[in-house]
Assembly symmetry: C2
């Protein structure tokens, strides 16, 4: 495999899965040329006059869609670890004897471990998308024939829009759908809130199959997925396991360490003047992130300020802030609990968004840049604030990028992370896998101090008399190394098992096989 | 000008405005090949990092968008006869000395008479879009340099989507918009309800300018136009005259003749079994159409049935049916009065749609085919049920096609029209301009009898003992001719002044210059 160096100094492959790669060139440096992907022109005369696109079953739909060797099949991950559908698609592919497929999910989960057999027998040639848990482990040890490609949520939209990835067939699980294919995620046993991760697929895939376990009479309102993009509709018994699709209740961390991280993060934002009337924020649904939100709530109430909007992942805490009037709008990309689903269905201030609105870097702007502060995680950071979210320090690829890279374009990016995990330091000389360039990461909050990126002289100035434990990244690293000892490098082979795309489709790093 | 005959037997031009035309081939016969129009790939790095796209004024925006000779400039007509914006765009073009523009409005109105000077001095080379009133008169008498092209609402979406019409710059008047370009029509002095006619323009135009007289803080919710498609935002004092943008109140006809037409139409639908639980209908905002709706309401209440949906143009009568629970949903394409705007802003059952969802014939189906009955107008019909909506019997081009052609795909199409107007018979040997093929028109209701298309044996059978005055079209024509005398043919020159497109982009007829 021929490698080349990119602008971040990472050795990447010059060719990935037979296609030339474009090396990462720096933030905002790569200028795309050319035109968006142009799907074929359809004609109503080829669709049922009465709008009824229901076919007998999923196999029939896949056959009509022309499923055959080497195709790209996409799915979405709004059903998270409760998804039954993706496995069924490839069970049918196997039955049909189809080989060499590219699976292009918006993310995969442990429930998709079922598909390892198809990676082994050649039904699936490779996965492009996050590989959380078992699939990541399998890929890390070199089990997959092709090279994995990981993209952010926005990068996935970009890749589809730009024609980098041509989807032959998309299979969209829809918690509610009418016979015409209009769909949403708001009702039914498999309710997941919204279907934004399937938006690009519905717009650009050659054939679009909507699968629902909750047929509703036309019109299915709102139409998060528009039936005008849909070829076939399939009714099935069950799209997934509701208890794993959506949490009955999300929970704030009870860990004192993580609560401390959250409190320090919120206090930092307060000291820096970020929490002010009309501000905006994004915080995830992990325990620490939820706790940050709760500290925000407390500060907002004390100071009598309201947020104009919060970007979700939504959950009951964020919903209650909306309902209390502390937040004018939730701009939601995925709902994490039942309260999120209820709110989205009921409240016009709880707005469903998509990777197009929020994250696509090859649009005329996106929402990420308008967010005042975003709270993110990381597995590792280095002295230049570069960060990793996909691999552990042992080299295993166990997480997807999600919206992480996209959110780095927000006005202030804060990573609240422990200084070490299981006695493995999180601040490193060099991150195992580079996912986000340090120039976009402003603050790293640890339980033993807060490091501010030297580029953000405004934040350094604003917080210098705050009494917060501001340190340099070098100081944090020294402290971690003193406690844990110098970390060993992961044992990696030369073979590249996955590529990490930057938001513009360039390759920012690669993941190498873990030595066994 | 070389002419060729199309499948309807009409002599059309083989070339229009320098491009080869595709002759109409029959309903559902023309199969498009190729790909949709692919806009250029943008990059966030070329847009303001904070999402603020506001520029100084409209001229600045047009200059930044690169306005120059020969470009195609599009506008929408949601401000109807109250629009101030389109005139300003071409005033600026004139100031800048730009020549030979193609104006591509979704419709034009008498308020755009102002632009005749620019058609005369070469600023505008031609209009593609309906030319209601004075512009139509001007074009009919041969005043325009290029050939006009009239498309239905769906045909306009199709033409943009398919790349038949490449829009260089669209200027979208938005009653509410944020700095990022997210826009809607729901609030402010220029509130018009929705912005669906600008949807295709926002998606496919090279440069998108949003102009608002009501800047709102990000996020402008709902985003009927998505800021991710927008290049520049302009703030101006006033987009239009509110009293002409939207009616304070729509009124049902008081004319006994038209009330009779409406009553006969509703009774026909009742007799034919169309008004049943869960049915759907579309009826316009003209006096007769409104009256049909009111008769529907009466019948629905008597029979205890509810409609699943009504397609709008919405108005206070339809809104009250929604609020009374007689209709589950209004799928609205344009709002005609203040009650319509209020309802759309407040009621999740009052849904804004677009020519994409409802009318685009080059999609994977559209909503028109799902509607049980649609009530439309016509200026003329012939013995084969062919109909005209654009020209009067004197040959003057005075109306646009609107959604009329698209609605012909509904399950039952009824035209309630007077048998004669000003002693000019409406039933003709041949319509002056063919806009819709008779095979798609099911029933013509006149004050002197109802003609059912012989193709609809089901309707003939269902209504044969209804007591309604069912007649043949021949009988109706004979009666009209007996009363009015045989009509004279219009005096027309050879010169073609406009082409009429069918829903699939083929040319169904042309309009010739009126002899002076």
């Amino acid at each position: 495999m021929k490698t080349i160096s990119n602008a971040a100094g990472r050795q990447i492959l010059s060719e990935i899965n037979g296609e030339a790669s474009i090396p990462y060139q720096g933030v905002g440096k790569y200028k795309p040329e050319g035109k968006k992907h142009a799907p074929s022109i359809a004609s109503c005369s080829d669709y049922p006059a009465d709008g009824n696109k229901v076919v007998k079953n999923l196999r029939t739909a896949l056959e009509k869609a022309g499923l055959r060797d080497g195709m790209t099949i996409s799915t979405h991950h709004h059903f998270r670890n409760g998804d039954f559908l993706a496995n069924q698609v490839f069970d049918i592919a196997k039955e049909m004897g189809v080989k060499g497929l590219r699976w292009f999910p918006s993310a995969s989960f442990p429930c998709h471990e079922h598909l390892i057999q198809y990676l082994q027998d050649g039904t699936i040639q490779r996965i492009e998308g996050s590989m959380n848990g078992p699939l990541g482990h399998f890929v890390s040890e070199g089990g997959m024939e092709g090279t994995g490609v990981l993209r952010s949520h926005g990068g996935r939209y970009q890749a589809i829009q730009d024609g980098e990835v041509l989807i032959d067939i998309t299979v969209i699980g829809a918690p509610a759908a009418d016979q015409f294919g209009n769909s949403n995620g708001l009702s039914g046993d498999s309710a997941c809130g919204l279907l934004g991760f399937a938006l690009a697929d519905s717009e650009y895939a050659d054939k679009v199959i909507v699968v629902t376990d909750n047929p509703v009479e036309f019109p299915c309102i709102p139409w998060q997925i528009q039936g005008n993009h849909v070829d076939y509709v399939v009714h099935i018994e069950k799209l997934g396991d509701p208890s794993k699709i959506i949490s009955g209740t999300t929970q704030i961390t009870k860990s004192p360490d993580r609560l401390l991280l959250a409190e320090l993060t919120a206090k930092f934002c307060q000291a820096a003047g970020i929490i002010r009337e009309g501000f905006s924020f994004q915080s995830g649904a992990g325990g620490t992130s939820l706790a940050v939100g709760e500290y925000f709530r407390k500060i907002m109430k004390e100071e009598g300020v309201r947020a104009r909007f919060a970007r979700g992942g939504s959950n009951k805490y964020l919903v209650s802030m909306l309902e209390e009037g502390l937040v004018d709008y939730i701009l939601d990309g995925q709902t994490f609990d039942l309260e999120g689903v209820r709110s989205m269905a009921e409240n016009p201030g709880h707005v469903w968004s998509s990777p197009f609105t929020s994250y696509n870097y090859h649009g005329k702007g996106n929402f990420a840049g308008l967010v005042d502060v975003v709270i993110l995680g990381a597995t590792e950071v280095d002295l230049e604030f570069n960060a990793n979210v996909v691999t552990h320090s042992d080299g295993y690829l166990l997480h997807g990028i999600g919206g992480w890279q996209n959110c780095l374009f927000s006005k202030t990016v804060i990573l609240p992370i422990p200084l070490f995990r299981d006695r493995v330091p999180v601040v490193r000389d060099q991150v195992t896998t580079l996912c986000g360039p340090g120039e976009l990461i402003d603050v790293v909050v640890t339980e033993r101090g807060i490091a501010i990126n030297p580029l953000r002289t405004d934040l350094i100035e604003a917080t210098k008399n705050s009494g917060l434990p501001i340190k340099t990244m070098e100081e944090l690293k020294a402290e971690a190394d003193r406690i844990c000892g110098l970390p060993a490098s992961p044992a990696l082979d030369e073979k590249v098992v996955a590529a990490i795309k930057w938001v513009d489709g360039t390759v920012i790093d690669v993941v190498r096989q873990v030595s066994k």
